[in-house]
Symmetry: C2
Subunit: 352 residues, 2 copies
């Protein structure tokens, strides 16, 4: 283990996983009776049937094409609660503000927070405001935590899963995948990462790509109404690749995806080529990756396509059994097959 | 309103109250059906019978006499949930770490978090870890949010209150005080603030005062078992004075306290004299201020004195009716009566 924290320790890849698994979680985990705990390393945890999650947002710049730190914070927390199969009922908002920050900028961020909450139908009910001297933080950091209760459609969803393959699931955990499940993404990949990087000092390339940042609780609810959804994840830090790797390792399966089916905007492709990074390894903030029982996959895709943020939803692959190797295999556009690399970290820090 | 954020906007006094009331809360509050919402500006909120709170900790130095940022974060959130009359069932832990931070220091903080959680009997079930480049934060910031459910003794407590004065209360809100209630503090005042300041660069005075930082859920439970407790608050930013002012304004009553009965350590008194600040305006992290129906006050004090952190608990005053002026009046040690000044902010920033 290193002696000092490095940027890559926070970037959502294997390096971060080792910090969490070797230092953080063993230090604080306790042997308590929770339904889904810290050791699951999922997007949220569950205790007393209450889904609970937290995230701090340190994005730079704080205003970026398609959104800002406020919309990002609310959407991110709404999504982390919702991907387990819960209705987000309340979120908290903790601001840490640098002395000298413009109150007009604060008002803009708060307006964005308010509008995103209204869109999701989830209120902020508790908060905290700290001010630190110049240099104590970089402009503003927002932490949002969220609580949720079981979606009214979660039981129907579980029944549909059970009907097809006798699998009993409740919460839509990363570890729920099984052979025969179909992998869906809800739209284009890499938009948020590219949108943020394009406005950052020192990169300075022009791009028309906007962040996809959005609350997805409505999309998840529509999917649950159809039923057959086993596992849902929002591919944020570390991108699509990291999300798929987490799902396959926790479920102990292989995931086989087809590169030609992964929707990626031209602007994202060209920006990634220019930067020498993979669009599959940069963060998304308004997309879902789902594992769905094969028989229901087309119906779930149709339902997602009818939602505001799901027009480009599509099937990108299938789950097969892992004999002794759990991994993500990609059939490339030129016809070969290769292991999809697991990112060490999101290639650019502070995109969320 | 100012154009830029100032340190005093985060210091827990009238200046902070104006930022919250004029900018933050009107921007994000929604007209939703919650039991205790953002507008109550209490220590925690309540929705679906779930008590929910959040706090970020930016204390400097991160290790101080009697505690560290980890113990502070866990205790602060446990206390904010508990003062409403709830059992804290889970907390979240979101770390924002500066690149280059020593992993050994991180481990020390995590150990402290773990030990404080174990003491309180409340697990961390969800978390987040972000790393920012040098200067993005000052060493480390910790955010903890907490959820709680109604204490098993809350109904008994309400029944005792109702028995004496027909008042119907449930959650122990700031606004519950009524004429005849007795004001209790659970111990010496000002310890945390002085302990933190004494170790800060530039102040450099010696002090044997240790922070009082501690989880108080056990103390609150013992008080509820006795019954008759109407309102509980932990006097953190802005100290005892700010806590009393918030209670009296929200309850629309007068609070009359006797200076000679307020327990203050000699070391705190002398440090405050040297710094030219009031011990009643600096933060505490292991103390409670309570309003209790008069007939039960002695019994509640006795119960608190039997708990680990309540040996110096004592009655410091009473509540009288407000005719047209709600305020805090202090009978001074030399026999006069004066309005206890309401702090503009905690006189020293970043003590929590």
């Amino acid at each position: 283990m290193d002696k000092r924290i490095q940027l890559s320790h926070g970037a959502g890849g294997t390096k971060m996983e080792s910090l969490l698994k070797e230092v953080v979680i063993p230090s604080v985990a306790t042997d308590v009776n929770v339904d889904v705990g810290l050791d699951a390393m999922d997007d949220a945890s569950v205790v007393n049937n209450i889904v609970f999650t937290t995230d701090s947002y340190t994005v730079k710049p704080i205003f970026f094409p398609g959104g800002d730190i406020g919309r990002l914070a609310v959407s991110g927390t709404i999504n982390d609660v919702s991907v387990l199969g819960a209705n987000p009922i309340a979120i908290s908002c903790a601001l840490i503000i640098e002395e000298g920050f413009e109150i007009d900028s604060l008002k803009k961020i708060l307006k964005s927070i308010h509008e995103t909450c209204a869109e999701a139908g989830t209120p902020i009910i508790t908060g905290d405001t700290k001010v630190v001297e110049k240099g104590g933080v970089d402009e503003i950091i927002v932490n949002t935590s969220g609580i949720g209760v079981e979606s009214p459609y979660l039981e129907h969803n579980s029944n549909v899963v059970n009907e097809y393959d006798k699998r009993k699931i409740k919460w839509l955990l990363d570890s729920n995948l099984r052979e025969g499940d179909v992998i869906i993404v809800s739209g284009t990949i890499g938009d948020h990462g590219v949108a943020v990087i394009s406005k950052r000092e020192g990169y300075g390339f022009d791009s028309t790509v906007k962040s996809d940042v959005a609350p997805l609780n409505g999309m998840i609810e529509e999917s649950l109404k159809v039923g057959g959804v086993c596992s849902v994840k929002d591919p944020t830090r570390g991108g699509l690749s990291n999300a798929l790797w987490e799902m396959c390792e926790k479920s102990n399966v292989c995931i086989n995806i087809r590169e030609e089916d992964i929707p990626v905007r031209e602007g994202v492709k060209s920006a990634c080529e220019m930067l020498g990074i993979s669009p599959y390894e940069i963060g998304n903030e308004g997309k879902l990756v789902m594992g769905v029982v094969g028989e229901m996959a087309e119906d779930v895709v149709s339902a997602i396509r009818k939602t505001k943020y799901g027009k480009d939803a599509t099937i990108i692959g299938e789950v097969s059994q892992s004999d002794d190797y759990a991994g993500v295999v990609m059939e490339t556009e030129i016809g070969g097959r290769r292991i999809l690399p697991r990112p060490i970290g999101d290639p650019v820090p502070r995109i969320c």
